[in-house]
């Protein structure tokens, strides 16, 4: 309760509240409240009008009850009545009730708005303030709609009291934040800016919050505020601490206002006007100077206020990033704070320095504090400060101090907090890579990293090492040696084993000369770790073993022995088992030449942005560390090393697949689609060896190919995956067709609730009619069911109907959608005609829209017989001896639909020597209907 005048004590309210507080149980409290509510209801209902005092008292009680968590559904009217009272306390309670309990009841809102409007237009400043506070407290859209126009007027009116202006500015800010679209800019905006010159500091403080918010959205409109803000700032800064009596806080003149001004300036670029800029620089210098002065008070408030201004000034300096002098001074000032007693100050100093480090002017200055920062990293008690120190070290690192910083970070990593370890690891990895002059140093660093914090080394980090080692010839031998040594530790991290396995598998031969690291020793070392590793690592090790067989034929027997052991060849993990089986087979069947080709050294990775950097960015979110700057730095030193997003494991298989090597399915078995895609094309001896296991079956994604394959073909396999095979057989006569679909269950388990539906995308519904007979809902394991589709072509069409297949396999619902290979050309009737007839008709169809032409590259060889077969399969008649050029093909046919018949003439002109090595076709189609020509042309262009 606010201070109340005499006789305003509201004893009843006090008694009620104390009653409630004395209640022993919830039930008792509810009873008391019920009783009170009934009392208030009877009072409000009563015939004689209540006086303002009791009205206020009861509204207060209702408010209290509401705040206790009970529903209040009456009394709003009385509260609204209070608004029109002339007594401050009554009005205040009324507004309080409205602010807390407002609901969008149309009737009341109108009354409330009316009362608010009255108060706003009254001359009484306290009433105006109350009304403004109510608007701001509610802050709803309705309020904004009603008063967004009114408040700016009050704000800029000449005769408004200062306190009201203050409230109006904050109220407008609130409305703008809640619903920015309703607060319209207008001529008042320019006058708001001039509030910065107001005599009253409170008004300026309130106005500046508003201006900052507004100028962030539309900077241009408020451009003029910069010079005003600068002059205001300079007045404050240059004033003695006694000048601004009420606004001096512990000897600091107007600290809040100064901070806000500095923050406002941060919304704009440095002022172009020389005078203004000079004044601003002067101000900033004064602030920096003041920081050096001995404190006027020992109170913490004094230093807090002073430092707040200082930090705000420094961020402005950083924002401008154009005054080397100031930047260096700021940096020195922060350097002092780095050793301050106050933890918060150290934190802020480290944080600001992080941004300073990215400026070219102050980078050197920041670097001078390296010792202090390293010290902070080691000795700081607060983890968040240590984190900032790590950030700063990362930011200040460059070629000159990289070794030191990386070494320090590595040594810190051993004791670092778990929460920041992963980030630290990423940073070390990035710095080591970016500033590596000597790659042996890089390899050492990363291996150390894995040794110290193996659990926090993400996949990306060790992928990266391998990419770099593979791309740099000079470091491979060293890497192999170091890895070999590292693996000799009795306990090493799994990531180390991965790196070790990979590098020894690739470059083990480089150190095999030394008897201490002879091939067998290397193998035994790797194999000693095998049993402690997870499945993916084991898989990688198996690949390393097969590479060993290639590199060192003398180990073949030993490794084959290992592969043949039951624990490999009968491993319960399919992946491991398959690798073991295949590698064993490969090593025993293939000749050394084949082996050497298959197991060739990995080709270099393509240069790309480091994936670690991407990971760090993702981890930190934008704007925490100037990563972008770092990235630029990396581009500068771009020759450094290669990159690649792919992990080496997948990269291994992918790169092998791109070289025509039959081992494509060896290294990434079942892991990715490219394997199966590559397998058939690689069609050489080894595919046969592995055919029974290698054929994983094409994935569902290939269906589009399947669709196109059927343009010139009526029978075949439409779709196949691990579970299901769909065969197709179709026949067409005139505008009718019949299609047989054979669903084969490839598993031994039955499919339940098997169902198929045909859907028509686009306009197809009216163009094509497909009738299906439902299939049996159960498909037994290994069984095949047949479905017949009757197709009727009503008019020409371009889309294909879709077949959706749903079934339950082992509890999981499978859903497959396929395009049914029903195309317009299926309804062709071949027409034989002589050359003269053909050319006559050809000429008849000479309108531009009747012709469709396409020139395209040949996808397949230009084999005459194949081409002829395809054209016949299309359904047209192939006309011999029509075209004067015997190379060309000419066809004719009629597309039969229910509504009409469309004659089609086709001409295909192959050009075997269009360009060296490229074969081109020109396909021309003429028909009496433009859509038909177009569709047929599109379909056929994919076929040759």
């Amino acid at each position: 309760m606010p201070a109340v005048s005499k006789g305003d004590g509201m004893r009843g309210l006090a008694v009620f509240i104390s009653d409630i507080r004395n209640c022993k149980s919830k039930e008792a409290e509810i009873k008391r409240i019920n009783k009170e509510l009934a009392n208030i209801r009877s009072k409000f209902k009563g015939d004689k009008a209540l006086d303002g005092y009791s009205k206020k008292k009861y509204v207060c009680k209702l408010l209290f009850i509401f705040l206790l968590g009970h529903d209040i559904d009456f009394g709003h009217m009385e509260a609204v009545n209070l608004l029109s009272s002339n007594k401050y306390t009554e009005k205040q309670i009324g507004y309080l009730f409205i602010s807390v309990l407002v609901n969008s009841n149309s009737e009341l809102i109108r009354l409330i708005n009316n009362a608010i409007k009255n108060d706003l237009s009254s001359r009484n400043p306290t009433f105006m303030c109350l009304a403004l506070h109510c608007i701001a407290n509610v802050g709803s859209r309705e309020m904004a709609e009603a008063f967004a126009g009114e408040i700016p007027r009050i704000l800029v009116a000449g005769d408004t009291m200062d306190s009201v202006k203050q409230s109006a500015a904050l109220c407008l800010l609130r409305l703008y934040k809640a619903s920015p679209d309703l607060v319209l800019m207008g001529e008042w905006t320019s006058r708001v800016v001039h509030l910065l010159n107001d005599q009253h500091m409170g008004v300026v403080t309130a106005a500046i919050s508003l201006i900052t918010c507004l100028s962030q959205k539309n900077p241009d409109e408020f451009k003029t505020c910069v010079s005003l803000a600068v002059s205001r700032l300079s007045r404050i800064v240059s004033s003695a601490s006694t000048d601004l009596q009420d606004y001096t806080y512990y000897f600091v003149p107007a600290p809040w206002l100064s901070c806000k001004l500095l923050r406002l300036l941060q919304c704009y670029p440095p002022p172009e006007d020389g005078a203004v800029k000079g004044r601003l620089v002067e101000c900033l210098e004064t602030i920096l100077n003041k920081a050096q002065e001995p404190p006027k008070s020992k109170k913490v408030q004094h230093s807090n206020a002073k430092n707040a201004i200082l930090f705000e000034a420094i961020s402005l300096i950083i924002h401008y990033d154009s005054e080397p002098n100031l930047l260096v001074r700021a940096c020195n000032q922060l350097g002092q704070f780095l050793q301050h007693r106050e933890t918060n100050l150290r934190y802020l100093a480290l944080e600001s320095m992080c941004t300073l480090a990215s400026s070219e002017f102050s980078h050197e200055a920041v670097k001078t504090h390296i010792e202090t920062v390293i010290n902070a990293l080691k000795t700081e008690r607060d983890v968040s400060v240590r984190q900032r120190a790590a950030d700063l070290l990362y930011a200040m690192c460059d070629r000159s101090n990289a070794k030191q910083i990386v070494a320090e970070m590595l040594s810190y990593l051993e004791t670092a907090d778990y929460s920041i370890r992963e980030e630290m690891v990423l940073k070390v990895a990035i710095l080591a890579e970016k500033y590596a002059v000597d790659y042996s140093w890089y390899v050492d660093t990363i291996l150390n990293l894995i040794r110290i914090a193996g659990d926090y080394v993400s996949e990306e980090v060790w992928y990266r090492v391998i990419q770099i080692v593979i791309n740099r010839d000079d470091v491979q031998g060293y890497a192999a040696k170091t890895v070999f040594e590292a693996l000799q530790a009795p306990a090493c991290h799994e990531n180390m084993v991965k790196v070790g396995g990979y590098i020894l598998g690739e470059f083990g031969n480089l150190i095999a000369g030394d008897p201490r690291s002879s091939p067998l020793v290397q193998f035994n070392l790797l194999h000693s770790k095998f049993h402690l590793c997870s499945v993916p690592t084991r898989a990688l090790l198996l690949s390393a073993y097969i590479k060993f067989i290639n590199l060192f034929p003398e180990t073949k027997a030993t490794i084959q022995e290992v592969l043949r052991s039951d624990s490999q060849i009968r491993n319960s993990d399919v992946e491991l088992q398959q690798r073991a089986v295949e590698y064993l087979k490969l090593s025993s069947i293939a000749s050394t030449d084949v082996l050497a080709t298959v197991l060739e050294e990995m080709p270099p990775f393509p240069e790309r942005e480091s994936s670690i950097l991407a990971k760090l960015k993702k981890k930190k979110g934008p704007g925490v560390v100037p990563v972008s700057e770092l990235e630029d730095g990396k581009r500068e030193g771009g020759e450094l090393n290669g990159g690649g997003d792919r992990g080496p494991d997948s990269a291994m298989s992918a790169s092998n697949a791109s070289t025509p090597s039959p081992s494509a399915d060896l290294l990434g078995l079942r892991s990715a689609a490219p394997v199966s895609a590559a397998a058939p094309s690689a069609g050489s001896l080894l595919v046969d060896v592995f055919s029974e296991s290698g054929a994983g079956g094409p994935a569902a994604a290939v269906n589009d190919d399947g669709f196109l394959r059927f343009v010139c073909k009526n029978n075949g396999v439409l779709f196949e995956n691990q579970l299901l095979q769909i065969g197709i057989k179709s026949e067409y006569r005139q505008n009718l067709g019949r299609m047989y679909l054979f669903y084969g269950n490839k598993t031994s388990v039955q499919f339940a609730s098997f169902s198929t539906t045909v859907s028509y995308p686009g306009e197809l519904q009216s163009q094509l009619n497909v009738q299906t007979k439902p299939v049996e809902p159960l498909v037994e394991g290994g069984a095949q069911v047949q479905q017949v589709l009757n197709i009727e072509c009503i008019t020409d069409f371009s889309e294909a109907p879709q077949l959706n297949i749903k079934f339950r396999y082992g509890g999981a619902l499978q859903n497959i959608t396929l395009k049914l290979p029903v195309t317009i050309n299926k309804f062709f009737q071949p027409t034989e005609m002589a050359a003269t007839d053909f050319f006559q008709r050809w000429k008849q169809l000479s309108q531009p829209q009747q012709e469709a032409q396409k020139i395209f590259k040949a996808n397949h060889g230009m084999d005459t017989e194949v081409l002829k077969a395809k054209l016949l399969g299309l359904g047209t008649a192939l006309l011999e001896n029509v075209d004067p050029n015997p190379e060309n093909y000419v066809c004719a046919g009629v597309v039969q639909t229910k509504s009409q018949q469309v004659g089609v003439l086709l001409r295909l002109e192959p050009n075997a020597q269009a360009q060296p090595g490229v074969q081109m076709y020109r396909l021309t189609l003429r028909s009496s209907k433009d859509t038909v020509s177009k569709r047929l042309c599109d379909l056929l262009a994919e076929q040759f």
Binding site: K26, A38, R41, S42, K45, D73, F74
Partner: protein, 437 residues
């Protein structure tokens, strides 16, 4: 099994805390307080699971009794135990209140040690407990070895609820049939649900080790007797009087094997107060009162309510403590009541009109009419019209249960069935007796 037992006052302060198993820590005490006693939303379920710990609570006035366990116990068992525990405490210091619990905390801990062992409930018969847990100090030298061994043999023996060698000058027996009748009726007078839950409570002051036999008008027993050759006239008469018992439970003293085979209730009674059986019936219930409500809404701000109650039992009997509770809408601003009999008052704290009648004979009717003024509210929340509830007490059993006999045999001592003075009383009370309006 029960891991611990806590007693709290209304503020959630712990009065008694007894932990039986290690898996219950002190934090369980706080968990219950925070999540149940001080919960923002009133917790209505008697079983609460907090962090894999189950809390079973019962509330007696302002006192909370909570049994805690981490295991999957039989909830019915735990509640049975808690009720027994309340009975035992009542037997020792009458009312369960914060003050009584504080004054008797040593006794309560002693009791808790006795009736729960490692979380397993033990003999909780207050009669038996009173023989060795007394509220006075025990002078051990006065306790002879005999006496101690007697207690032991009794407590561990076959008849744990009665000790030997009890002697009374007057052999007396009190039998109360206490029933509570529950009803939900539609405004049109259709019975939506009705059942009677009854108890047979006895107080026996008998010497020696008497064998008692209790007979009532159980339908199965009566039918069996008819089969044995009663006349058709008889059967019609007795058939009318017999009742069908849906389910029943007995005090541990009743020989269940005999009940199963012959459906006769025979037992050696404990000394003093005990509950012989509990039962429930749902058929042919005599509803002592009929409530006829009439509610009329006159405009938005007025409500007229008229309620008639009719007593529906023998005119010679008198019902007592009749109370009718008519709920009023939440926006009631004033009430005028007129009633022919008794006193009626609007109780704002309960949002109801309470009409009280001290006595009312059978086959009578009485009426109340009230005008309720309402305050127009902003929200058009419809009043849900909660049912009108009623409380009363009648001197008969609404289920129709009749005690046919209660025989006492004591072969060793020289008193016979005729020498025992027997008192039988029927009390029918209202349970949840509601009529929708």
């Amino acid at each position: 099994m029960i891991g611990g037992l806590f007693i709290y006052n209304h503020k959630g302060e712990v009065l008694i805390s007894r932990v039986y198993r290690d898996d219950i820590g002190r934090n369980a005490v706080d968990a219950f307080r925070v999540n149940v006693i001080h919960a923002r939303q009133q917790v209505r379920s008697p079983v609460t699971n907090i962090a894999r710990t189950s809390f079973f609570h019962v509330k007696r006035s302002n006192i909370w009794l909570a049994a805690v366990t981490k295991q999957n116990v039989n909830a019915a068992m735990v509640f049975e135990f808690l009720y027994k525990m309340c009975d035992v405490m009542t037997a020792y210091f009458s009312k369960i209140s914060e003050e009584n619990i504080k004054n008797n905390f040593v006794l309560i801990y002693e009791l808790l040690d006795e009736i729960l062992d490692f979380g397993y409930p033990q003999n909780s018969e207050s009669g038996a407990l009173k023989t060795f847990i007394t509220q006075q100090g025990i002078k051990s030298q006065h306790h002879s070895k005999d006496e101690q061994s007697q207690i032991t043999s009794q407590v561990t023996g076959q008849i744990g609820w009665r000790r030997e060698g009890i002697k009374y000058r007057r052999n007396e027996l009190f039998l109360d049939v206490l029933e509570s009748v529950n009803l939900l009726m539609s405004p049109q007078g259709q019975v939506l649900s009705a059942h009677v839950s009854g108890r047979v409570v006895m107080k026996s002051y008998l010497s020696g080790m008497p064998e008692c036999k209790f007979g009532m008008n159980d339908k199965i027993v009566i039918d069996k007797q008819q089969g044995k050759g009663a006349t058709s006239d008889d059967s019609a008469k007795s058939g009318k009087q017999s009742i069908a018992i849906d389910d029943c439970t007995f005090h541990q003293c009743v020989r269940l094997s005999k009940f199963d085979s012959e459906r006769s209730i025979s037992f050696i009674p404990p000394d003093g107060d005990y509950e012989l059986m509990r039962y429930r019936t749902t058929k042919d219930i005599i509803l002592p009162f009929r409530v006829i409500p009439l509610v009329r809404e006159v405009g938005r701000t007025k409500l007229e309510v008229k309620v008639v109650i009719k007593s529906n039992f023998k005119a010679s009997l008198l019902a007592q403590k009749i109370e009718v509770r008519i709920p009023t809408p939440l926006n009631t601003s004033g009430v005028q009541v007129i009633c022919m009999k008794g006193k009626a008052k609007y109780k704002a704290s309960d949002n109801a009109i309470v009409w009280k009648i001290k006595r009312m004979a059978g086959m009578k009717e009485s009426q109340i009419s009230a005008e309720i003024e309402l305050l127009p509210t902003n929200e058009k929340k419809k009043w849900t019209r909660p049912p009108i509830s009623m409380n009363f007490e009648v001197p008969f059993a609404p289920s129709g249960l009749k005690v046919r006999y209660l025989k006492v045999f004591e072969s060793k001592l020289n008193y016979s069935d005729h020498d025992v003075i027997k008192w039988v009383r029927y009390i029918g009370r209202s349970g949840i007796y509601e009529t929708r309006c």
